[in-house]
Amino acid sequence: MDKMNDTLDQQVRQSKQRAMQYWYEDGFSEIMLGILFLLIALFFGVMARLPADSGWRAAFALLLPVLIVGGVYGLRWGGRRLKERYTYPRTGYVAYRRRQTKSRRALRAVAGGAMGALVGILFAASPASQAWIPAVQGILVGGLFFYLAMRLELARFYGLALLSVLLGVASSLLIGAPNWGNAAYYGAMSASFLGSGLWTLRVYLRHTTSAQEG
């Protein structure tokens, strides 16, 4: 007889999941992440080409946090504009409750902290272990996408999680130099995110039309 209430709870859970899935339905979030990863790949590519121990290289290295923070804010802004232009007129606008945003921020902080700590430990341990930095990043990004895939029941995120781990490990094993390894990992993941995002966007645009309120 608990079915009545189970159904209500289930309905609340499903609505929550559908609302969260909606954010990823158009593929724009993956496209934006793909662009960010491409910028990071270019950064590491330039770093690898600059001569070691040069002042230029040290100065250029300081750009990474600016690139990441600026990129996240800029692409978030760009993603919102794209959603306003293509998604909201088709399937509607939603604003999520701040509580969800806080939990996402906490998750990002934990993931970022764990990544920073692991990379820091690797740096400190030995210069040879720096070659494993792409693998560590691949595993952490893969873990994050695996968590999202489970929570949102989005099959393509399982694929991205697996790709991230494989590409991270492959970049470490096949390319010894850390900067080239990072450039390869971020470049390959950028292509994966852009491919997945553009494919999702194509499917989304094919199945939806701009609906105006009557």
Partner: protein, 110 residues
């Protein structure tokens, strides 16, 4: 002796209607949503959705803001604090009713 299941009579009839219950469930988890999103999520017709939203608004459970985005009309809906409280109360009433019912086993024993 178990409490008679008359508590179900006290259930909020504004919320008890399936379409309105679904609407509140969707809005409960969001800051706000527009008419197009609610149409898609509930599968209701425009007229039905409009009518149910009006009833929820009249009960003070939902706030509706009619505005324009460029030349396109935009209807934003959000659940009010009274709506959240009423939904929780509805859930509790339903809970109490379900747990007051005799189970198949106890009916068999009688």
């Amino acid at each position: 002796m178990t409490k008679p299941p008359h508590s179900i009579i006290d259930v909020d009839r504004v919320i008890h209607e399936p379409a309105r219950l679904l609407l509140l469930t969707v809005l409960l988890l969001l800051e706000e949503a527009d008419f197009t999103y609610l149409l898609r999520e509930t599968g209701l017709t425009k007229g039905n959705l409009s009518s149910h939203l009006s009833k929820l608004e009249a009960a003070g459970y939902v706030e509706i803001e009619k505005t324009y985005k460029g030349k396109v009309p935009l209807t934003l809906c959000r659940i009010t604090e009274a709506g959240r409280t009423a939904f929780e109360q509805y859930r509790r009433t339903l809970d109490a009713f379900v747990s007051s019912l005799p189970t198949e086993k106890t009916v068999g024993e009688d």
